[in-house]
């Protein structure tokens, strides 16, 4: 009984928060309708956009094309960041070799790469995926390094007692011990990748959510811009839910305990 009450209370507060947000939005929209269309107008716009394709791609198609770029980039970022991070966390020599270059490249935001990337790869798919990869590999690499360094030395001794080879120690002890940290890095990579892909799509693209916002800007269609922004928010939220679910499946010892 008490528990149901608690749940109802939580839902109540969530509804209240959404409601207040919409009221505030409407209030501001009524005063400046040219600069901020009201929620109702935006919903109407969303319906319109779902109804007919924009630039020959449906709304779902635009979302999928952005998502595809992010996932592809995170895949490549993991391919680079995970082994490199393992090696850097494991071996001081590798760390000394790679760290200076990494620390120098890291503060350069992916957006700053845009001119170079266009010069090298043009404005096609490759350059977009490349840009997102540039941002996504950083958290994966950093979290992997930290995860490996944080493996309790006593666990490595367990491996040594049984004369485990370095490969066995890495596979059986270091990798699983660092997995929660690595996965947290992948999570961060996906969400920052989702932000970068929009920037990449806004520079030049014929599909994707970033393209929708750009299209809205060019056509002075403020509602379209806002719908695009809302889609970013909602999809980002859904992504984080999916990742949390995946984490539970992947690291059951962390979360799935009764």
């Amino acid at each position: 009984m008490n528990q149901t009450k608690e749940i109802l209370k939580t839902i109540g507060f969530t509804m209240l928060s959404i409601g207040l947000f919409l009221v505030l939005w409407t209030f501001l929209a009524v005063r400046n309708p040219d600069f901020l269309p009201s929620p109702l107008i935006c919903i109407e716009k969303l319906g319109q956009m779902m109804g007919r394709p924009i630039s020959r791609v449906s709304l779902g198609g635009h979302i999928l094309s952005s998502l595809r770029r992010v996932l592809l980039a995170v895949f490549f970022a993991t391919l680079i960041g995970l082994p490199l991070g393992l090696a850097m966390g494991w071996s001081r020599k590798v760390n000394a070799f790679v760290a200076p270059i990494f620390e120098f490249l890291r503060p350069i935001p992916p957006i700053a790469w845009i001119p170079l990337v266009i010069l090298w790869f043009g404005v096609g798919e490759v350059s977009k995926v490349f840009l997102v990869t540039l941002g996504a590999y950083v958290p994966i690499l950093m979290n992997t390094v930290t995860g490996v360094k944080m493996v309790p030395p006593v666990l490595l001794n367990v491996g040594r007692i049984y004369k485990a080879s370095n490969v066995q120690i890495l596979r059986e002890i270091v990798l699983p011990a660092a997995l929660p940290a690595i996965f947290a890095g992948v999570k961060t990579a996906v969400s920052s990748g989702w932000m970068i892909v929009l920037a990449a799509e806004m520079m030049a693209s014929r599909s994707g959510v970033g393209f929708l916002i750009n299209r809205g800007m060019e056509a002075y269609d403020v509602a379209m811009i806002i719908v695009g922004m809302c889609i970013i928010g909602v999809v980002g939220y859904l992504i984080s839910i999916v990742l949390t679910f995946l984490e539970r499946r992947l690291c059951p010892w962390k979360t799935n305990l009764e």
Partner: protein, 254 residues
């Protein structure tokens, strides 16, 4: 006490120093003793006196600065299959179930799954964890975790079991229980045990022999042989007498 005459392993003039830039610190100084087959040997010493270092050297995780170590009459260096180690802080893998933790050593040795599961099951049963095979360490109490550690050490069938203050982190009640349990397990599946502790009562409760170490650096100060039948009554006159005798001879740890 019948087959105690055979020497299982021995330490001869073992010393260990650690060098830092400024000074050399001696942790273990000229320690020699024999360990007999199937005896329960307790190494007792004040806190931070080099007991863990001594045990790690026997296990082969650290090498002595000087001295010789023999296992079944042969000198050895580094990790030796003859030893199993129960770690101070359980050192279980969080991501492995009880079964996976216990079979870990056998898996590393590439034993086929079915075979190693059967062996692991035998020791899980021995330590009284039947029914907990699929639990993760986080779901276990402190005492149960250390049972897993004991089963893991047993699983590779070592001749000597090294135990590094295995019950140090347990509450008093659980500690008494586990002391009785380790004796039961040892009676049921006899091995040579080298058990390190800083607790005098625990030492007198468990040991066939007790090697008392001095404070830093650790030297052999005295050897006690409590001639008490098991299970030992920790308020009997003889028990208390030995306890007091050891206590009076123990260095203060600062």
């Amino acid at each position: 006490m019948e087959n105690k005459s055979r020497i299982k392993m021995s330490l001869q003039n073992i010393s260990k120093s650690f060098h830092s830039r400024k000074e050399t610190q001696e942790a273990v100084a000229d320690v020699s003793f024999d360990v007999y087959e199937n005896e329960f040997l307790v190494i007792l010493g004040p806190g931070q006196c080099g007991k863990t270092v001594l045990l790690n050297m026997i296990a082969g995780l650290e090498s002595p600065t000087t001295g010789k170590m023999l296992y079944e009459g042969k000198e050895y260096h580094g990790v030796n299959d003859g030893f199993g180690l129960v770690f101070q802080k359980t050192a279980l893998m969080d991501w492995m179930t009880v079964m996976e933790n216990v079979e870990f050593g056998l898996k590393i040795k590439k034993m086929p799954k079915e075979e190693r599961r059967a062996i692991a099951q035998k020791y899980i049963d021995l330590v009284g964890l039947n029914g907990f095979e699929d639990k993760y360490p986080r779901q276990l109490s402190g005492g149960m975790k250390q049972r897993v550690g004991i089963a893991r050490a047993y699983s590779t069938n070592p001749g000597v079991l090294l135990m590094d203050e295995p019950f140090g982190a347990l509450d008093a009640q659980t500690r008494y229980l586990m002391e009785n349990e380790i004796l039961r397990i040892w009676e049921q599946d006899k091995r040579t045990i080298v058990f390190v502790t800083n607790n005098i009562e625990e030492a007198v409760t468990l040991g066939d022999r007790i090697i008392l170490l001095s404070a830093c650096p650790a030297r052999v100060k005295d050897i006690y042989i409590p001639d008490l039948p098991r299970p030992r009554d920790n308020i009997s006159t003889e028990f208390l007498r030995i306890r007091e005798e050891i206590e009076a001879n123990t260095d203060m740890a600062l």
